[in-house]
């Protein structure tokens, strides 16, 4: 593989501006340089076959039928040096501690509002604030047990937090499977370099869930609640249930009895469930409380949860902090609750609800990324420099009509890493989604899921919009002899 012509216009994860590999990536880059085009192509085919055989898919529902697609997987791993990762990990731990304290406070005394650090007005208009959660004290004081934070690096090489997914973040199964594929394809590199393992996640997730059981002492009965086979993340639901050895249930498998306990329908009769890792959105989880027509949820589940008879992860209402406007306040939350400075900087954000910021956004809309507060999957946003004048005008109107619902960030030139193409290695933009587990302890995945835009110059990495994935290597240089 020829690195001679490889140049990125942004900060590249593997290759420095002078064309030499970054220290942590050197063994990988040299190894790849030693492979012929044909050897490389063979390995890519082997990786694709491995992914298909292992059944790494996500489901796309089109034309009335569901199709399993394989997530495009690029062979070349993204490499991060261990010392840098440790700083990042500390930043993620700090963030999730503050976020959980914030959610608990919001559904409790709202001290942060009283102390005028966080404007209460924002809550009134938050679509993810659930009044049914007010006054609830979930086990261990944790609301967001599983958090997927998206990190991006700008052209200067600084790693920023872009958003925190506190509702039902997905993608961790791809992180685990990507590693299995990479090991099959590059066994030599795993022998000669110290690449930290990622496979502790399922047992850490199990421990995190088990610690929430309302019946401590007994072996808890844990279930993963899935919306079913038509959900795009169904593969992941199966994968996680299987790797933890817990039940995979659908709404119809559960019911809440008069004693407020939640039960599964089994061939032995009803069996009590202690902990539910729910992958169904808040609004569909209980027709008694939310969407009455939802068939995905369980009637009475919120009642059972409020009574402390079943634990839900993530807790309903945790999404109140998963809001792109609330996001802007995370550094202030860290200061307020923990008395610390944020280790991991936020991507600078302009809140359209604030007049000064709004004026700036309206005047500079062509340079900014404008996002609605509560969309995910990259939908409904404007990338200013890539949009037409008409789209700018349209977004100005949207912002003015509902300022609370919009925030803007500078258009970062996301960092890149090489992917394999027919024209040799080519830079593509990427981000990183580490997963953070909070229960009795906090666990951060080793690296996370690297999502990469497979199209040249594209900044959108979401799988629903043609993004792919790479294995992420945290490399320990100190261990290299």
């Amino acid at each position: 593989m020829d690195w001679g012509k490889y140049r990125s216009s942004s900060w590249d994860e593997l290759i420095q501006a002078d064309g030499r590999p970054r220290p942590a990536a050197r063994p990988l880059v040299e190894y790849l340089a030693g492979l012929s085009g044909r050897e490389l192509a063979e390995r890519q085919v082997a990786a694709d076959v491995a992914a298909r055989v292992m059944g790494v898919t996500f489901t796309v529902y089109t034309e009335g039928r569901n199709v399993d697609r394989t997530l495009p997987f690029d062979l070349i791993p993204r490499v991060i040096e261990r010392r840098e990762w440790e700083r990042t990990e500390a930043g993620l731990r700090q963030r999730i501690r503050a976020l959980n304290l914030f959610i608990g406070d919001i559904y409790g005394e709202q001290k942060i509002v009283r102390d005028k650090v966080f404007p209460g007005a924002l809550l009134k208009e938050s679509v993810n604030f659930r009044k049914q959660c007010v006054g609830v004290k979930p086990p261990l004081g944790v609301w967001a047990h599983i958090c997927g934070s998206d990190l991006v690096r700008d052209a200067a090489g600084t790693l920023y937090a872009l958003e925190d997914n506190l509702r039902i973040p997905s993608g961790v199964s791809y992180m685990l499977e990507n590693r299995l594929v990479a090991k099959r394809v590059f066994p030599e590199l795993f022998e000669t370099s110290t690449i930290l393992p990622v496979d502790a996640y399922p047992s850490q997730l199990y421990d995190t869930l088990a610690a929430l059981s309302p019946r401590p002492g007994d072996t808890p009965v844990i279930a993963l609640l899935t919306p079913g086979i038509y959900n795009s993340a169904y593969f992941e639901h199966c994968y996680l249930a299987q790797s933890m050895g817990i039940e995979l249930v659908e709404g119809g498998d559960l019911f809440v009895d008069d004693d407020d306990c939640t039960y599964m329908r089994t061939v032995y009769g009803p069996q009590r469930v202690d902990v539910i890792y729910r992958r169904v959105d808040d609004l569909f989880i209980d027709p008694e409380v939310f969407h009455p027509e939802s068939v995905l949820g369980v009637k009475g589940l919120i009642r059972s949860w409020r009574a402390g008879k079943v634990a839900l992860a993530n807790a309903p209402g945790a999404g109140v902090a998963d809001d792109k406007v609330v996001f802007a306040y995370v550094p202030k939350m860290i200061r307020y609750y923990l008395g610390e400075d944020a280790i991991l900087p936020n991507v600078p954000s302009y809140l359209c609800s604030e007049k000064k910021d709004r004026d700036y956004v309206l005047a500079h809309i062509h340079e900014l990324v404008v996002k609605p507060a509560n969309e995910s999957g990259g939908y409904g946003m404007l990338i200013g420099p890539r949009a037409t004048k008409r789209q700018h005008e349209q977004f100005r109107k949207l912002v003015l009509a509902n300022p609370r619902n919009y925030m803007a960030q500078p258009t970062l030139s996301l960092s890149t890493a090489p992917i394999i193409t027919d024209q040799g290695p080519q830079p593509r933009h990427l981000d990183l989604r580490p997963f953070v587990l909070s229960g009795r302890d906090i666990h951060v995945t080793t690296g996370g899921l690297t999502r990469v835009a497979m199209k040249r110059n594209s900044l959108v990495v979401n799988s629903s919009q043609g993004g792919g994935a790479k294995d992420t290597w945290i490399v320990d240089l100190d261990e290299v002899a």
């Binding site: 055989v53 292992m54 059944g55 079913g228 086979i229 169904y234 199966c238 994968y239 249930a241 299987q242 039940e247 995979l248 249930v249 659908e250 119809g252 498998d253 599964m264 329908r265 089994t266 061939v267 032995y268 009769g269 009803p270």
Partner: protein, 313 residues
């Protein structure tokens, strides 16, 4: 074990077993036809009744009625999208069910079922013609047996496994009676009276072959094939795994490993008694079909009892 998962395991194994039997039936019938003298005619239509799809067939081929052609019946039984009970339909059902319980069974089972599904999609049309039909059918049978083998070799003997076994046993018992049914319907139309006895023997050999039973019959019975002996073997042999008695007895041995439900045991014993008391000599002399229908109704009510006891909690 969730009731929904148990329900799906039960139906998954039924569909796999149904697909395998359907494939065998079509394959053996085609072979029999090749062996026939010119004076005899092979009637394909009764095969449609075997899978209980007469209505769907009449809708798709309104003109062919009694004189249904080989091409129509083979297409109908193997791949016709208008026949939910076709080979392709059974495999598709098995696969759709498996999607919802993928976490319960080993990954290789999913791969194996997916392989059959893709194979049928790719080769189904070509497999209709006589030239490639046997290859196609054998490939599908191999695929189904691979699934059965994976289940036997690699699945823990928990309660879910019992539902797999129960589904297989009940489906095989049912298919055996259906194939006997078709065999008794005079697949062969002799053009002269004297050929008739010879043809009847050929026909029962074909029934035995459809149930992979011919060789075992020869070893156990050690007599040439007659309708009485073939019927006795397929209904009442206690060692051949596709005989009705064997399948139902297996059901009796499975029940103690399942949550206890009196109604299921009682229903199973009722139909087992019917089989034990059957008189093959008498059945062979007359028309065995009403008795096969009676057995099928017994399986139907057994299924309803199982459904009520385990899947509707």
């Amino acid at each position: 074990m969730l009731s929904r998962v148990a329900d799906n395991l039960y139906w998954f194994s039924r569909y796999i077993r149904r697909a395998e039997n359907t494939a065998r039936l079509v394959g053996v019938s085609g072979q029999l036809q090749l062996d026939l003298p010119r004076s005899a005619r092979f009637a394909w239509r009764p095969l449609v009744e075997t899978v209980g799809a007469a209505d769907a067939f009449a809708k798709l081929y309104p003109d062919s009625a009694d004189s249904a052609s080989e091409a129509d019946v083979v297409r109908f039984l193997l791949v016709d999208p208008g026949n939910p009970l076709s080979l392709r339909g059974s495999v598709r059902n098995a696969r759709e069910i498996l999607r919802t319980i993928r976490d319960t069974l080993p990954q290789e089972v999913w791969e194996a079922v997916n392989d059959i599904h893709l194979y049928i999609d790719e080769h189904g049309e070509r497999g209709l013609g006589r030239r490639y039909r046997l290859d196609f059918i054998n490939h599908v049978i191999d695929g189904c047996l691979r699934v059965s083998g994976l289940l036997t070799a690699n699945v823990s003997r928990d309660v879910g496994y019992q539902f797999l076994r129960l589904g297989t046993a009940l489906e095989q018992a049912d298919m055996t009676t259906r194939i006997i049914d078709a065999g008794s319907s005079g697949l062969l139309r002799a053009r002269s009276g004297e050929d008739e006895e010879a043809f009847r023997a050929m026909q029962w050999m074909s029934v035995l072959r459809s149930l992979a039973a011919y060789q075992m019959y020869r070893r156990h019975v050690r007599q040439r094939v007659t309708p009485e002996l073939a019927l006795r073997f397929l209904l009442q042999n206690d060692q051949f795994p596709r005989s009705v008695l064997f399948c139902l007895s297996r059901g009796i041995t499975i029940l103690p490993s399942m949550p206890s439900r009196d109604a299921v045991g009682a229903s199973l014993k009722r139909v087992l008694d019917l089989v034990r008391k059957a008189d093959p000599v008498k059945l062979a002399k007359g028309d065995p079909r009403p008795f096969m229908d009676q057995l099928q109704r017994g399986f139907g009510s057994l299924h309803d009892t199982i459904h009520e006891a385990y899947f509707r909690t």
